[in-house]
């Protein structure tokens, strides 16, 4: 082979090898970090994985927020009106967390049926409904009325 060709071949081989390694790494890291979203009804139907993080979302039941004795751990109930699940979270709730409004939490379901959240996501503004939550409410047969969700 002429040197220019040989070199081009090397270049190509190098690029292909690099991309292959990158693709393999990406897929592994990707698989490990996929988070699925479930509504309380999904969880009750046994769809949520055990011993693995996932996202749980719904409406925070009005009047359900409790501070436990240490002052920092809170409990609240997330519902899609079909089913409800108690969520426990240790830390400061985001500014946009409200009773009666949509929330998405991330964590694991404990053996006691309590969802231990390590993150509470409420990044939207006060009138905005997370799309996952709106969808979950619709599936449970209790769609939120239009002017509330917009």
């Amino acid at each position: 082979m002429r040197p220019a060709r040989k070199q081009r071949l090397w270049m190509a081989a190098f690029i292909v090898a690099g991309v292959a390694v990158a693709a393999a790494l990406t897929m592994t890291a990707f698989q490990k970090n996929l988070l699925f979203f479930f509504s309380p009804s999904d969880v009750m139907a046994g769809e949520a994985p055990e011993n693995q993080s996932f996202r749980l979302g719904g409406l925070v039941t009005a009047g359900s927020l409790k501070h436990l004795e240490d002052g920092l751990t809170v409990e609240f109930i997330v519902t899609d009106f079909g089913h409800s699940i108690t969520v426990r979270y240790s830390g400061i709730l985001p500014d946009l967390f409200r009773e009666g409004q949509g929330v998405v939490t991330q964590g694991q379901l404990g053996a006691d049926g309590i969802f231990a959240a390590d993150e509470v996501l409420a990044k939207h503004d006060e009138t905005y409904m997370p799309p996952e939550v709106a969808d979950a409410l619709e599936r449970s047969g209790h769609p939120i009325d239009e002017d509330k969700s917009q």
């Binding site: 090397w10 990158a22 490990k32 996929l34 996202r55 240490d70 920092l72 503004d125 006060e126």
Partner: protein, 662 residues
């Protein structure tokens, strides 16, 4: 009346942009000078009209015209003037108008500073930018008119999202947009080059300064966004791999690859079609970013709009622009393929590796950002990709980049002796290792592969880059002192910034201490060698909010370090709560206190952070930005213009014996 004039100006601007997009293109094709001459006046007229519309909207905000729906939705009679004006781009419609305004500013700048380009080429570039503007103006006029009226007028506005009532948010979007939209210029250059079939080194040289300036603004915009998220969102993090952040980061990654590939195309005439492809990709990712953030498909603070018609329009627009550009590329690019006359040990190889890794990094982020949307669109469930995926991938992808980056400038173009390269590199490498080893006791406690790699990598980049400067000055012929060429200085500044950034990221991520605690006024808490004393809580009135303010005395030993006043604000208009963190910023550490919520017995939940070296992250980004700006003002770009004016022939590729800045 004035909003109607603004609306009318926008319609006129659309017509002008259509003329600007079509007439010069035909002129360039048929070599008709009169038709080509339409480009520049059209660009200036378009700028005037869009600016008029923008001022009209600003006027509506300043005078509190709540009969305009957009104003009523995003302002309030109690909003301070500063935030009334920045509320112009506080939401969907206005930020599109800002986007369009910036596009016409860039177009006018190209019109003004392209006198030395061949007439047909300049006409094509301006025309392509006109076509991009047509799409955005159609989008605005048909789905997102900022001048829409509500009759009768509302008595009071709804208020600007309190998160956006912050000085950081006044400047973050414009800077980011200048960067985003600026990639329209290399895009237009690439399309013009494909249309004309002329893709010589001269083309890359014309396109380069524009790319550098856009990239610098984008760097600044992203850094401002990160800084804002850090102090305003109240979580104390500097990057969350939120889809909205990713949307701005993808064009940055593609842009970084583009800057480096343009260097090869300009200096060596190689990588031509790859540079064209990257120019298209960078702008395509900018458009995609706009689509992701503005169509409401993302669950995020930025996704204000929730209108499927808009999403559909942007999707069609994206497909037209990107699909059209790629089709043109597939048709024309084979003609411009450049021979590679180089050996593996050459600067070209190093820049190729740079491009490979940055392209893969951009693809990685794209996958993690789009995959959940695709799965959702296919009805396969709601998923999201956790930040650890991005973090892990970046640590792996950027490690080789950091390892090779300081070495690249030492290597000659075309071919070099491995022995010579090793000879010039072993000293800085030894110094970097020695520094990292000497500092070991300081970071021993948090030792991990990530930390060791980061500290070593950061030291290596900084020492390697500084050593290069020293060597450059030493090997210059004696005589009067002269600065290095601006292009090379820019490269040095930016690479130095990467070193600072790497150190900042590694140290912050390893040694940050974060604590949520319960405190009653009068109590103390110790964290990272500092004592935080919660003194008092009081109530204050702001211009459009009421605040509960805590007072914290932070001390270390017997010294007072800072008095901090975190606030919890309530904005009554929208009944929204906002946490205003109090931060004592320092070169080697930040102390961060924010108030959670009131608990029983007068106690509060309080969040205390100790963040070493976090400022280095933004400092590094500022160095990168400065590097881009400095490099854009290299004399040779101006010289080329003069030369091109005389004879529009392709330039002969320069080859210096001394290493030159890439």
């Amino acid at each position: 009346m004035i909003p109607e004039l603004g609306h009318f100006a926008l319609i006129l601007a659309l017509l002008v942009a259509a003329v600007q997009g079509v007439v010069p293109l035909f002129g360039a094709h048929t070599r008709d000078a009169a038709w080509m001459a339409v480009a520049r006046p059209a660009a200036y007229t378009q700028l005037f009209l869009v600016l008029f519309a923008f001022v009209a909207l600003s006027h509506a905000f300043a005078t509190q015209d709540f009969s305009v729906v957009y104003v009523a939705n995003n302002s309030n009679s109690q909003l301070p003037m500063m935030y009334r004006l920045s509320a112009v781009w506080g939401s969907h419609e206005g930020s599109l108008l800002l986007w369009t305004l910036i596009l016409s500013l860039w177009t006018a700048a190209v019109a003004r500073f392209s006198k030395s380009l061949p007439e047909a080429f300049a006409a094509r570039v301006i025309a392509v930018m006109g076509l991009v503007a047509v799409g955005f103006m159609l989008f605005m006029l048909f789905t997102s008119n900022p001048f829409e009226r509500h009759i009768p007028a509302l008595i009071e506005g709804r208020d600007l999202n309190p998160l956006l009532q912050d000085p950081g948010l006044i400047i973050h979007p414009p800077m980011l947009y200048i960067g985003y939209v600026g990639f329209a210029v290399p895009f237009a250059f690439a399309i013009a080059a494909l249309l004309s079939g002329q893709l010589d080194a001269g083309w890359a040289r014309w396109s380069r300064p524009w790319t550098l300036v856009s990239w610098s603004f984008l760097t600044l915009g992203i850094a401002l966004g990160s800084w804002w998220a850090y102090y305003e969102l109240g979580w104390g993090g500097w990057w969350f791999w939120d889809p909205v952040e990713n949307a701005s980061f993808m064009p940055w990654l593609a842009g970084t690859a583009l800057i480096h590939s343009q260097a090869v195309t300009e200096k060596r005439g190689a990588f031509r079609s790859w540079t064209v492809l990257l120019s298209i990709t960078a702008f395509a990712l900018s458009l995609l970013g706009t689509f992701l953030v503005r169509s409401g498909v993302l669950t995020s603070v930025h996704a204000f709009a929730n209108d499927p018609a808009r999403g559909l329009f942007i999707l069609v627009y994206l497909l037209t622009v990107i699909g059209g550009a790629l089709t043109l590329y597939a048709w024309r690019a084979p003609r411009v393929a450049s021979p590679i006359a180089t050996t593996p040990m050459s600067r070209e190889t190093f820049l190729l590796i740079n491009n490979l890794f940055f392209a893969v990094a951009a693809a990685t982020v794209l996958l993690g950002t789009l995959y959940p949307l695709v799965i959702d669109a296919l009805g396969l469930g709601k998923i999201s990709v956790g930040p650890p995926y991005f973090g892990f991938m970046f640590a792996i992808l950027m490690a080789p980049v950091v390892a090779l980056m300081p070495a690249a400038p030492y290597v000659r173009w075309k071919t070099d002796e491995p022995g010579r390269v090793a000879e010039s590199l072993w000293k800085p490498l030894a110094i970097a290792v020695a520094i990292a080893a000497l500092l070991l006791p300081l970071y021993w406690s948090g030792l991990s592969l990530f930390l060791l790699g980061g500290v070593l990598g950061g030291c290596w980049v900084i020492v390697g880059t500084l050593w290069y400067v020293v060597r450059r000055f030493r090997t210059r012929p004696p005589g009067r002192f002269r600065l290095l060429p601006a292009g090379e200085m820019g490269m040095i500044l930016a690479h130095f910034g990467v070193g600072i950034f790497v150190l900042g990221v590694t140290i912050t991520n390893t040694f940050s201490v974060e604590q949520d605690i319960r405190l009653t006024p009068g109590e103390e808490y110790e964290l990272a060698g500092h004592v935080f004393r919660f003194e008092t809580v009081e109530t204050l009135d702001g211009p459009n909010y009421t605040a509960t303010q805590g007072t914290f005395l932070v001390s270390r030993g017997d010294d007072t370090v800072a008095m901090l006043y975190p606030q919890k604000r309530r904005y009554p208009q929208g009944n929204q709560m906002m946490t205003e963190a109090a931060i004592e910023a320092g070169f080697t550490r930040d102390i961060y206190v924010s108030l959670g919520e009131p608990l029983s017995d007068g106690a509060w939940s309080v969040r205390i952070y100790y963040k070493p070296f976090i400022r280095w992250i933004w400092l590094g980004a500022l160095f990168m930005m400065a590097g881009g700006f400095v490099a854009a003002f290299d004399k040779r770009y101006r010289r080329t213009r003069a030369a091109a004016a005389e004879h529009a022939a392709p330039r002969v590729v320069e080859q210096g014996t001394a290493p030159q800045g890439a």
